[in-house]
């Protein structure tokens, strides 16, 4: 017995040693101004990450042996930014061959080599919710990824996140800005969009019942010999998951009225809406959104590019946030993704959000919307070591993202990047000189 215990302890020790010696994910960030988001600002402090998880936030932490140290003196340390509406890292955005494409999964078409992943890192973004496009009333299942540039695609998936299904209302699914040759596809109106979504949920309800009947018959004392299961329909399965609460809706909607209609639709069938995308008229119905506990994921000031966005105001984010709506700022663009911190700053100008409130728009708020608040969105012990280090306060226009870290591993380091560029330039000059 004693020998067994000893050998067990030895094995356990070895395992722990390996865990501790997983170098890539151990990191100590020293002397930075820490913006925890949920627990205030620490003017000068250290963060210790071991095994990819934040273990300590304190003053003067001694670096454990072998752990890489980053000196962040004079710099600002904040949680990695979360972009809750993008279309990056995908080999395909819209399934345009049909109107309802609920069966498609963005997880099937990940592209780990999309340069936009690197672009995101240069802007301090560590996690994105990458989605189906808005071409269909019901799109497909979205996926949440960590921007682990250089790693295989399957390692980027954040399995802790809520499962979400993309819905779209308004001009895009009704093809208002497309000139179609021949017969236009149904729906071409907002009432058609709602009707088609309702139709699919009604079909899903029937489908669910078919399966329930089958299950019951199978479980019965004498199931019939030729009891055939219903045909598994990949289009309706996600909708059934929504009815069962296993999946939530993320709905692209601009106008206040269509937003309200969709809320009614969700009540009709009992599914949950996690957030409305874009929601440029959210300020008109802020109370309702608070009441229904539905968040919004929006631009700050991008507007007037189409009619349904023509009453979008820059105060939207700040006003709704102050009212109690869970607001996140997104990019929906592989260019704007690297300026989310600039967009958040504008919420201080248009609506007078405080610094902390503005930073929440791109950290803890999107984390809550995506269901990953236990592992990301703020600098707290126990959360993942997803961190962005900036040269100035992130809400200053003069700031520059210098280091982006995911689970304790450095994925973007501007100083390194510049050094590499210098070296390559020198190599070029030598080559030219030799010629």
């Amino acid at each position: 017995m004693r020998e067994k215990i000893i050998s067990f302890m030895i094995v356990l020790n070895i395992i722990t040693c390996f865990a501790v010696f997983s170098f890539a994910q151990d990191l100590l960030i020293k002397n930075g101004t820490i913006l925890t988001i949920t627990q205030g600002k620490i003017p000068k402090g250290d963060i210790l990450i071991m095994g990819g998880v934040i273990r300590r936030i304190a003053d003067n932490i001694e670096p454990p042996p072998g752990v890489k140290v980053i000196d962040a003196i004079g710099k600002f340390v904040m949680p990695g930014i979360i972009d809750s509406h993008t279309h990056i890292a995908l080999a395909g955005v819209n399934e345009s061959g049909e109107t309802i494409s609920s069966e498609v999964k963005m997880m099937d078409v990940l592209n780990a080599e999309d340069p936009a992943i690197f672009t995101a890192l240069t802007g301090g973004v560590t996690m994105v919710h990458t989605m189906h496009g808005s071409g269909n009333p019901i799109g497909g299942e979205n996926v949440v990824l960590k921007m682990k540039w250089g790693k295989p695609s399957e390692e980027m998936i954040v399995h802790e996140a809520l499962r979400t299904l993309k819905f779209a209302l308004g001009e895009n699914p009704k093809q208002a800005n497309i000139f179609s040759l021949g017969e236009p596809r149904y729906p071409q109106t907002r009432m058609g969009v709602n009707a088609i979504i309702r139709r699919e949920f009604l079909k899903a309800k029937d489908y669910l019942e078919q399966w329930e009947r089958y299950d019951e018959a199978k479980r019965s004392k004498n199931p019939p010999k030729n009891l055939l299961p219903p045909r598994k329909d990949l289009k309706l399965e996600p909708l059934v998951d929504m009815l069962r609460g296993k999946m939530v809706a993320r709905c692209h909607s601009y106008r206040a009225d269509e937003t309200l209609e969709f809320i009614e639709l969700s009540k009709e069938f009992g599914f949950k809406i996690a957030a409305f995308e874009h929601a440029s008229e959210a300020f008109k119905i802020a109370d309702k959104l608070v009441e229904e506990k539905i968040g919004i994921s929006i631009f700050l000031d991008n507007w007037a590019y189409k009619v349904e966005a023509s009453e979008g105001i820059a105060y939207n984010a700040a006003y709704c946030a102050k009212k109690g709506v869970l607001v996140s700022i997104n990019s929906d663009s592989n260019e704007r993704i690297r300026r989310l911190f600039n967009d958040a700053a504008k919420a201080m100008k248009y609506g007078d959000l405080s610094e902390e409130e503005a930073l929440k728009l791109i950290t803890i708020n999107p984390a809550i919307q995506l269901g990953v608040e236990k592992i990301a969105g703020s600098l707290e012990v126990g959360k993942h070591g997803d961190i962005a280090i900036f040269s100035e306060h992130p809400l200053s226009a003069y700031t520059c993202c210098e280091i982006t870290i995911i689970e304790g591993e450095v994925y973007f380091d501007r100083a390194q990047y510049l050094k590499q560029r210098e070296e390559e330039k020198k190599k070029e000059e030598v080559k030219k000189g030799l010629n």
Binding site: P115, F118, T119, T122, N177, F283, K284, A286, D287, D301, N302, W303, A304, Y305, K306, V307, S310, E311, I313, A314, Y315, Y319, N334, E335, R336, R338, R339, N342, A345, K346, M348, K349, Y350, A358, S391, E392, L395, S396, A397, Y398, T399, C400, Y417, R421
Partner: protein, 424 residues
């Protein structure tokens, strides 16, 4: 005696309206106690700017404020010159996807006869929003084709286009090919000869214009000769040939920039370059050429991975250090208010901060030849003034007052209108 006094008083009273008229015309405003950043000179802590009528009368630490001046306290605030947008579509675009509201791009390749200000919509919702962020003047431009037409400099205030125009035409706009977008680059490949083709076309066009000019001049001298046939395209290019109208050349790739510089030199024309995304590769030559550069919106990705993710951001800093005169633009209508943030983004990547400020105030004024009127806070210049609670290039700064030519602007915009309507 009494009658005399009455008559004198009566006569004087005739002058009262005159006096009040003059007071109206030469209204005095004193912006007092703020930190003045004149751009053209040293910063002044706790200074005063005195406005008389349309002009800045004086500015300094100890300024005597005349009687009857309206005092605006700028205590704890900052006083800047109004910003100038190097290129925008304010007044030409309302809703991007609705063609009926977009007037910036005409059909056709050679359109020198078009004047952007003739499509200007003073009621555009985007103008007050830009103005409320401290932009007081902007270059409104036509786009499309090889020769897009003539731009005009406007003040962001006025009920009619005529009230808004400061100087039109300002320049003749030429478009050389844009850079292929980064995602398509490896598939389409470069089209290296496109810029050369267009420049050749321009050369031929200008040769035609010169010939046309000679014909017209000759015919004018000899009245017996019939006039050469009127050609709209050639007629409107005459000022370019004369050197009275600069060329505003939209150019992007390294090779194209070099060719464009050569072209300008050979044709002996005045030029302003726009875009110049790969300018950092030819910074020295650009500086030597003396051609000023106005940047496109920095809200773009570089087209070549190898140029680096920050290529567009560090471009302005590199050019400025080499000695090129630079200015920024919003190149937008709905985001014209973001002009200062392009400057501060460049400052985050190497451009000196005070140069960044100059690049949205004094430098565009110099490039457009209106630096005698605007671009800095100086006595004698137009009173285009912005009072803010922070650095005007910073994102969180609130603008408290905007003056255009001495008149205080209403800072209420569509944003506030809608918010007021719906807020509870």
């Amino acid at each position: 005696m009494r009658e005399k006094i009455v008559i004198i008083l009566a006569m004087l009273s005739l002058f009262i309206p005159l006096f009040s008229e003059q007071e109206k015309k030469t209204e005095l405003i004193a912006i007092q106690g703020g930190k003045i950043i004149p751009v053209g000179g040293e910063e002044i802590e706790g200074g005063t700017v005195l406005i008389r009528g349309r002009l800045i009368e004086a500015l300094g630490k100890e300024i005597e404020i005349p009687q009857g001046a309206k005092i605006i306290s700028a205590k704890g605030l900052f006083v800047y010159p109004g910003m100038i947008d190097g290129q925008c579509y304010l007044g030409l675009q309302e809703i991007g996807s609705i063609r009926a509201t977009v007037d910036s791009t005409e059909t056709g390749i050679i359109n020198p006869q078009l004047q952007a200000v003739e499509a200007l919509r003073p009621d555009s919702i985007h103008i007050p929003i830009a103005r409320a962020n401290g932009i007081t003047a902007a270059l409104v431009v036509p786009t499309g084709g090889l020769v897009a037409g003539q731009s005009g400099l406007i003040r962001l205030y006025g009920m009619t286009p005529q009230e808004m125009v400061i100087k039109s035409p300002m320049a003749m706009h030429i478009n050389l090919p844009s850079l292929p977008s980064s995602s398509r680059q490896q598939r389409r490949g470069d089209q290296p000869e496109e810029a050369s083709k267009r420049i050749k076309e321009l050369k031929e066009l200008f040769a035609k214009v010169r010939h046309y000019q000679k014909q017209r001049q000759f015919a004018r001298k000899n009245k017996i000769l019939p006039l050469p046939e009127f050609d709209e395209k050639l007629e409107f290019l005459l000022p370019v040939i004369d050197g009275t109208m600069p060329l505003f050349i939209s150019v992007h790739a390294e090779k194209d920039i070099r060719e464009a510089m050569k072209f300008v030199e050979e044709e002996k024309l005045k030029a302003i370059f726009f875009g110049v995304e790969e300018g950092w590769k030819v910074a020295e030559e650009l500086a030597k050429s003396g051609i000023p550069v106005i940047f496109d919106s920095l809200y773009e990705l570089p087209s070549k991975w190898e140029d680096g993710y920050d290529a567009l951001y560090r471009n302005p800093g590199i050019l400025r250090k080499a000695g090129v005169k630079i200015a920024f633009s919003s190149s937008s209508a709905s985001l014209a208010k973001d002009l200062p943030y392009h400057a501060s983004k460049a400052a985050a990547f190497g451009l000196d901060r005070s140069e960044a400020l100059k690049a949205v105030t004094l430098y565009p004024a110099e490039i457009f030849g209106v630096d005698n009127l605007m671009g800095s806070l100086e006595s004698g210049k137009l009173a285009n003034i912005v009072v803010s609670d922070g650095d005007i290039l910073e994102l969180a700064t609130h603008v408290k007052h905007v003056f255009i030519e001495g008149k205080e602007m209403d800072l209420k915009t569509r944003y506030e209108e809608l918010l007021d309507k719906y807020k509870k």
